[in-house]
């Protein structure tokens, strides 16, 4: 399987060239275009968070219910995948490590990657940003998507990220949710709300833009629903 990322970062689109008998899992709705012989089916992910219930949970979390599985069959095949919103795609190589991904940050993965739904570490404090988090383990490549460009921070010590800007982070990191400001009033008025303080060793992937802020900016000017 060969991966080419085109038009990064703003309009990133993944071009995947598959050899015969290869397989790729992607969120439903991510397919843009493909070779005419591609075989497509729908899957409900098995495992702890799999099955219908897992799917429903994922739907609540802003993900579509189904994952699509693309199989190349007997010949080479080409597949284009794109995120829902404007933004970048980041390939992440899993090697026995675990990655926690914001629910809307998942786009596709190779078949040996396990997707576990509803990582509970953030509890309800996070609501408003994203209800659910996915935990990725196993081996293979995960394609993450973000609103905006993605920048990587190698945490050594302590790093603060606004909760609206987290795409994914390695589970080796410790984190705590806190106010951005020492005082609640300042925190609220300063517009930063809640931040996540990461500690230890590991990587955090941040998105440059906050979808909620942009949604507010444009949505508030649209006619009422």
């Amino acid at each position: 399987m060969k991966l080419d990322l085109l038009h990064q970062p703003d309009s990133a689109i993944a071009k995947i060239t598959m050899a015969p008998q290869e397989e790729l899992v992607a969120e439903a709705g991510a397919m843009v275009a493909m070779s005419p012989y591609m075989n497509v089916s729908t899957t409900l992910r098995q495992g702890k968070g799999g099955g219908i219930l897992g799917g429903l949970k994922r739907m609540v979390a802003g993900e579509s219910l189904f994952l699509s599985v693309f199989r190349s069959g007997n010949s080479d095949a080409e597949l284009f995948l794109a995120p829902k919103l404007m933004g970048d795609i980041l390939p992440y190589q899993l090697k026995g490590t675990e990655l926690v991904v914001q629910s809307t940050g998942y786009m596709a993965s190779t078949p040996q990657v396990d997707i576990d739904l509803g990582f509970q570490g953030f509890k309800s404090l996070f609501s408003g940003e994203s209800l659910f988090w996915l935990s990725m383990s196993g081996s293979g490549v995960v394609l993450l998507s973000a609103f905006g460009a993605i920048y990587e921070i190698d945490v050594a010590g302590e790093y603060v990220v606004d909760t609206g800007h987290i795409v994914a982070f390695e589970k080796t990191l410790d984190f705590s949710i806190s106010k951005a400001n020492p005082s609640w009033i300042g925190s609220f008025l300063g517009g930063e709300g809640l931040v996540c303080r990461f500690r230890g060793q590991g990587k955090v992937f941040c998105q440059t833009h906050n979808p909620g802020a942009f949604g507010q900016l444009v949505g508030s000017k649209l006619p009422p629903r």
Binding site: D10, M86, G190, T208, F214, L217
Partner: protein
Amino acid sequence: MFLGTYAFLSILATRGDSVKSEIRYKPAFATLFITLKPGEKLVAEAGAMASMAGQLSMKTEFFGGLLPGLMKSFFGGESLFVNVFSNASQQPQELVLTQASIGDIVRIEINGNEMCFQPGAYIAHTPGVKVELQWAGFASWFAGEGLFKLKMGGKGVVFCGAYGGLSEVRVQDELIVDNGHLVAYEPKIRMNIKLSGGLIGSVTSGEGFVNRVSGRGKIYLQSRSVDGLVRFLRPKLRG
């Protein structure tokens, strides 16, 4: 010795001379990566912080004091509050700032010169920059741009941004700009806002108000406008 250098640099910094910045992911997702030296400060619009080193501290203040802040927020289209980021540690620390809109950001040096900004364009400035609210006129208000504008003077650096890509244009004589595309301009530039082609023509052409910009000086134009996006989306929405 290093400490000495930093102490020296921080003196420069308090004079508002410069700040180390890099603008990445231009134009669509332009993001400010700032390195604050020890003792250095930066003022940024509320909500602009995406991430930062754990050692930086952040304090919320009124934008230029309570009353000016209220004025700027009410009339200038900016937030009432700003956050002041400061580095009290002994090492340079990183701060990442962004805007609500997806689009371009430019760094503008202010050193004796002045620059005016349309509502919403302001992102951050160094403490040496003076921020003033200035009367923009009723024509500007009619055209949906606000009664007041922000004027920046003094000495330092201002970062501003907009939806779309930003182009610096030198006006030589006269240029017609669709409303909603002008981001910043030098105060000596004259403006004349009017309907683009008489009342009927303005409605059917979809252009509405245009701005006849004249004089000699620098302006910044945004390649796309949020109003244009809204106009495009409106017929495609459901109930």
